[in-house]
Structures are given as structure tokens and as C-alpha cells.
Amino acid sequence: MSLLDIKDYRLDIDTFDGPVHVLKGINLSINRGDTLGIVGESGSGKTVLVRSVLGIGPRNARVIEGGISFDGQNITNLSEKEWAKIRGIRISMIFQDPMTYLNPLFSIGRQISDVIAAHEKAAGHGVSPKAARRTRTEELLDQVGLPNPAMLFSQYPHQLSGGMRQRVLIAMALAGKPDILIADEPTTALDVTVQAQVLDLINSLVEKLNLTVIMISHDIGAIATVARRCAVMYKGEIVEQGLTRDILSNPQHDYTKRLLSAVPDIDAAPERVAARPAASEPAKSRFLLEAVDLKKVYRSQSGEDFTAVNSLSLSVRTGEIFGVVGESGSGKSTLARMLLRLIDPTSGDVIFDGQNISGLSEKALRAMRRHMQFVFQNPHSALNGRHTIGDAIGEPLRLQTKMGRREIEARIEALLDIVQLPRLFKYRYPHELSGGQKQRVCIARAIALNPRLLVLDEPTSALDISVQAQVLEFLQQLRAEMNLTYVFISHNLAVIRQICDRTIVMKHGEIVEQGETEQIFLHPRENYTRTLIESGRKTSQAADL
């Protein structure tokens, strides 16, 4: 008999607009020692499903049909008391965001030993003394590969890095020696390099402790690294399950196929939509945008100076896609902001279309803005939640042109057409749109004034992989239509390779390598570039298995 059995599980969540059918007949069984990966679109019900297994699903959820049984016991509708015997002891869970899943006011040691105490109490054989629990806690911390557990014991979450916190969470989940470990996107919030380490840790724990693991991830690569078996969820259903290897190499369901094809391949040479030569415009200079010796120094509250961007020079040709890559914190966003003078550089100049914009007055600068626009990393927060989509797209028109109301309305509809959104959307509010749709709105807003330059700061990193592919494709199309020049920032090398003509690689605010994109990918000169490509390749290859 399998350890965990989910049969015909249907679950509704009651909302104001009526019940939402979140899970529609889930069938899933997991044997002892299994490692199961769950992939699926955002919002497809992965989190709700695994939380139901622990009885911590959403408050207004209703089980319509079916049930979950664990180790022969039906756990669909347990009382809090009965759950206490299961949660954390038989089944435990690690979470997506290590920043918010630790209580900031209690020390690491206190939190873990509390869990130990709770388990001992639930198991019925008295709580062991403090010292014993401390020893056990330190053991656990050691087990998850944290250095110096004794010191860590009395530290607080805010003193730890993201990777360390995730390890603490794992240690906490292991405290009760559970049968099943559920991991809900355990690595999404972490840096690429740390991601790999945490995945390795989970792998090694599975072997060492003979754990049964359920892991959710967006990241096909991560699933491929950890999970032997895999289930694909789409709109509340499991559309496909089986051995991971089989599914990746031979996807059956449409969605799975789409998903896999959307994963950008770092090793694939791109087939680019050729930029239309900018011959029609008598360019004053061959370069649309130049930066000379840019430097940005932030002063922290404690008075220390921090150089985010250091003597950086670059030049962007009219009509090209100019890529910027670099690890997190390397100064990409800072650079982008300086290029548009959203922040003032500490020193250096930016020359746009032959004109130095560093010294421009506020007024002249505002006028200049219609030619250069910005698309932000996170479409959710780049739109004002209180404005309709129409307002958002029309705002630049209202600010920069003297168009009448009707003209603006017409232009908004035209723009919605351009970004391929229904015209009806102009009456909607951002929260009613999906991430990809919102990003299109942002793009529509950015191109409303027919700019010549678009700076895109990681425009797809907040989006699902499948959506990401669509947006990228659309951007390329748009450039061709509107004769745009892009500065494209990303930390995803596969994406860069797919669309950029020339690329610079940044580290600690400086350029370490620059040149034709293909050149860099095929023959990286610097070690740093090589590591970046390698760690990118790791996930991408796993998916390719």
C-alpha cells in the first residue's frame, strides 16, 4: 500500500464571486522512498494541494469529493488534536520564502527546540530537558550543513542569509523525523548558486534518511535534479504523471509540451528576427545611446560609501538589442536607471541621440523622456492599483502631448491592439490581469509616445516560463514593427542569448566582458562569465534530459 493516497480529491474555495474549483479530481499516490516532483502553471493548485495534505489549506476551502489517506488513515477531515500527531512528525513541510517563514522575534535555537518539544509531547513521552533539546537542535543544524551550530543556536533570523535560513527551515522540518517531507518551491527565492546547493542538500538528505519527498517547483531543472517521479498540474488537474525522465523526454499533454518548449535553451543559437535597418532616419550618430564613465555611489545610513556602478562606459547602436547580464547586485538596475536619468549618476555622462542628458534641466529632461522609456522588472508593482489600464496607458499621452480626450481614447485602443490585449481591458484594474497581461500593459504604456529607446529591466523574471516565452517573442516582434532600440537587462543567460545582438557582462558595477552575444557565449574570456554560463546551463540541461 502506498504511504500517501489522494483519491478523486475535489476542493472548492468559496469567494465572493462564488466557489472556485481549485482542485478537480486529483489522483495521486506516493510510496515510501519516492521522490515526487509537481510542476505546473502558476495558480494551478499545487500549493493548495500539498497544504491540504497537512491540513493547513485556505480557511474557506471545502472538500467536495474524495479524500486523502496517509499510512492507511483517512486524514481528509481531522480534528486539530489528531493533526497534532501528524504535522511535523509524520509529514512536514518546507516553504518557498525563507525570509518570511521564520518568526523574527525568536532565536533559531528556540524555534527548533520548540518544535522538538512539541513532537515529544505529541508522541506522549515527556519533554526532554532543555540541554538535550539543544544538543539535538545543534545536531540538526549540523545535518543540514550549517557551520558553527552552537553559535547559530542563539542567533536570530535576520542575522542569516537566505540560503542559511532555508537550511534552518529544512532542519526544522526534519526535527520530527518525518516520513514525508513536502517542499513548496524551496529554491525560488534564492540566488542561482545557492539554489543548486539547497537542491544538493535535499538530494543528499533523501539518500541519507530515506525520506519520501514531494517537491513543487516551477523550475523544470530543479524537478529533474531531485524528483524521480513527476506530476504535471494544469488548472486544478493532474494532466500527466510518471517517471520524470519519461515526461521530460516524451511529454504527452499539450500543456507539458508547451511548458518544455518554453524553457529557453542556453545552448541553442538564436534565430533572430532581423532588425530593420534604421536607414530611414538620418541618425545624428551611429550610436543612439552612449554612457561615458558612469559612476554611482550610494551612501548607506551608517555613512559608508558603496559603489554600485563604477566608471562604466557603453554605447548602444540604433536599432540593436543590447544585453546586460550579471549576478544579482552587480548594478544592472542601477545602471538602467542612470541611463534614463531616473537617478542621477555620481559622475559621468549619458548621451542620448547626440545630446548629453546628464546636465539637462528638469523640464528639458521631461520632454526628452518621450523618446526613451523604461519597462520594469515587476509588472505587478509598476502599475498603480487604483488606475484602470486605460488610465495607465493614457497617462504618458496626457502628460506629454496635447491630445484631446477622444484622441487619447483612440490611441489607448490602438495600443491595446498593438500589445494584443482586448480593448475591453482598458476598464479593468491591474489586479484583474495576469502577470503576462500586466507586463504587456507596461509595454503599451512605454511605447505610447513612440519612443526610440526602450530600457527593459528583467522584464520577464517575475513571469511564468511559458508566459516569459510569449513576452520575449512579442518584444522581438514589436521592435521590428516600431523600429525600437532595446537595452535588455537579465540575469537569465539563455534569454540574453536568444534575443540580444551585443552584450556586456557586469560584476560589482563594472564591465568584465563585452562583445557580440554569440561570441561571449561560445568563447567566454573571463572566468566569471564562464561560471555564470555554467550555472545557467545546469538547470537548462536537466530539463533537456
Binding site: A84, G88, M93, F95, Y101, L102, Y156, H158, G176
Partner: protein
């Protein structure tokens, strides 16, 4: 730590100077002539002038201000023209009564407000929550002066259980004033009967004073508890099998306590202000009553003095809250 203390003292001094300037200017634009009040009904013009000179009221406002600020620098709050005594002396005489009242009321507010807020958060939208919501908002909405009178009528006049007003029965000699707080002094002196009667006297005013504050503590605590209970680390704690009671009463409460503490700090000042009403109704001989009677006779130095005193207590209370914050929240502790 030292710089923290230094900064606090600096803001304290700055604020005190600000308050002094503010209230001094506000109160002295008045057209009133307290000297006449003091001189008495039939006093002749030269008698009034004598008094004006004596209290420096014949000087221009700017001069008076300079003199006042100069005196303030020496810890001199001026002289009450009505009682002819130094304001500082009087404020210090009346302050303990007010503080005692505020402490008891605040204690009541915390002891009832925090657990009740916690419970209504746990049973959110349940009947208990609805009841405490209406109960607590009623507390804010009750006019203290009206409510006080109603309580007096019910418990003192009708039922005769509690005394109408004052701090002590007439014949009871107050214990030796060590802290000025009768409840504490009587215990220190071992006079349990005095403790008991002074406790009886403080019940009604403390209830009236604590009601609005209890309500806001309850509301804040409830709101914060709800938010904390939805937070990820509570979900995690549940997932790790920690008992619900422990989660609510220890984990969540500690997190929710921070904003509650801030509210308590704010409310402390508010309460000191409200004593103006409550002390009037209950004849509680504290600084609120002193301020009202002084204001009503256009004797403004005491009003300024009381305002300063309240500002002082308020800032001290908030400094304590800051310290408590740092004590509870490790993120605020400096390495």
C-alpha cells in the same frame, strides 16, 4: 546605548522647549486680565497694577516669554497667580494622584484589552468577536464625563457600594507620602484598610478612564493578531506541529505585542489628557483638575506647566516603549 540615551534626552529637551513655547504663546494671546481676578471685586486700578507688576504681567508678551523661557531653563515653571505658589511645586503635588489613576487605568486596559483582543482575533467573525467589537467601540464612543456620572449614580448613589468622589474618606489620614501613590504608600506603610478604601475610590474613575484605551488596545491587538496569525511563520509553526495554544499565546502574541505597545505609549499621553475630564467628574485632585480650574480662571502658567508635565510623561512613556521594542525585537538590537 549611550548615544541612544543622549539622543532621547536631546529630543526630550527640544520637545519640552517646543511645548513650552507653543502653549505659552497660545495661552497668552488671551485678552483676559487675571490680575483683576486676583485683586478681587472692588480693587482699585492701582491695586490691580500692583499685582500686575508683581507677576510681570505688565511687560510685553515678548518680554514675558523671554523671562519665562529663562526661568524654565532653571526648572522654574513660574508662579500661579491664583494660588501664589510656584507652579512646579503644585504640579509635583498633584502629579502622583494623576499618575496613580493613569497607571491603574492603563493596567486595567492592558489586562483586559490584550487577552480579549487575542481571543477575538482567534475567533474572528464569531459571536465573541462581534460582541467585543461593539463593546470596545462603545468604549471609545462613551463620553467619559457622561459615563462617569452614570457610574457614580449607579454605584455610589443608588447602590451605595463605592464612594462618589475623591481619593480617600475625609477622616482617613493618608499614609506617609513616599511615592505619592496612595495604593503603594499604604501598602508600604502596612495600612491595609487605607489601601482598601483608596482602592475603592480609584475604581470608578479608573474604569471610566480606561474604557477608551482598553478599546483601542483591544482593537490594535486584535488587528495585529489577525495579521500575524495569517503570516507565513505562523503557518510554518502550525505545519511543524506546534500546539495551537502555544502558537497563539506565545508566538503570535509576541509579534502582535509590538504595535500594541506603540499604541499603549500613545494612549498613555491621551489618558493624561483625558484626566482633565475624569478628574473633574470625580474630584480627583490631580493635574487635570488643576489645569481645568486654572484655565477657567485664566491662570495660564499652571496650564502651560501641566501641558509640559504631560508632554514630559508622554515622552518618557514612549521612550520606555522604544526600549521595550528593542528588548522584544532582536532586529532593533544593536550588535
Amino acid at each position: 546605548m549611550l548615544t541612544f540615551a543622549f539622543r532621547k534626552v536631546l529630543t526630550l529637551v527640544g520637545t519640552m522647549i517646543g511645548i513650552a513655547a507653543l502653549t505659552f504663546v497660545i495661552t497668552n494671546v488671551a485678552p483676559g486680565d487675571p490680575a483683576r481676578l486676583v485683586a478681587g471685586p472692588n480693587a482699585t486700578e492701582d491695586m490691580v497694577a500692583t499685582i500686575r507688576t508683581e507677576y510681570g504681567l505688565d511687560k510685553s508678551l515678548a518680554e514675558q516669554f523671554v523671562v519665562y523661557m529663562g526661568d524654565l531653563a532653571h526648572g522654574d515653571l513660574g508662579t500661579s497667580i491664583i494660588t501664589t505658589r510656584p507652579v512646579l511645586e503644585e504640579v509635583l503635588r498633584y502629579a502622583p494622584a494623576t499618575l496613580e489613576l493613569v497607571f491603574v487605568a492603563m493596567g486595567l486596559g492592558i489586562v483586559i484589552g490584550v487577552p480579549l483582543g487575542m481571543l477575538s482575533a482567534v475567533y474572528k467573525d464569531g459571536p465573541l468577536d462581534q460582541v467585543t467589537r461593539i463593546f470596545s467601540i462603545s468604549g471609545v464612543a462613551l463620553p467619559a464625563f457622561w459615563f462617569g456620572i452614570l457610574l457614580q449614580l449607579l454605584f455610589s448613589v443608588d447602590l451605595g457600594w463605592l464612594p462618589v468622589s475623591g481619593r480617600l474618606p475625609l477622616v482617613t489620614r493618608p499614609p506617609e507620602a513616599l511615592t505619592g501613590l496612595l495604593l503603594v504608600d499604604s501598602l508600604l506603610a502596612g495600612q491595609f484598610s487605607t489601601f482598601w478604601v483608596s482602592f475603592q475610590h480609584i475604581i470608578l474613575p479608573a474604569i471610566v478612564l480606561s474604557f477608551p484605551c482598553l478599546a483601542s488596545i483591544l482593537r490594535v491587538n486584535r488587528a495585529e493578531m489577525i495579521e500575524v496569525l495569517q503570516s507565513d511563520y505562523i503557518v510554518a509553526a502550525r505545519a511543524h506541529g506546534i500546539s495551537s495554544f502555544r502558537i497563539v499565546a506565545l508566538y503570535a502574541l509576541k509579534n502582535a505585542l509590538l504595535p500594541t505597545l506603540a499604541m499603549i505609549g500613545l494612549r498613555f499621553g491621551w489618558m493624561l489628557g483625558s484626566t482633565v475630564l475624569v478628574e473633574t467628574v470625580f474630584d480627583w485632585p490631580g493635574i487635570g483638575l488643576y489645569a481645568v480650574s486654572s484655565a477657567l480662571s485664566s491662570d495660564f502658567k499652571p496650564v502651560v506647566g501641566v501641558t509640559l508635565m504631560i508632554g514630559f510623561f508622554f515622552i518618557v512613556a514612549n521612550t520606555l516603549v522604544d526600549l521595550a521594542y528593542a528588548w522584544i525585537d532582536p532586529r532593533l538590537r544593536k550588535a
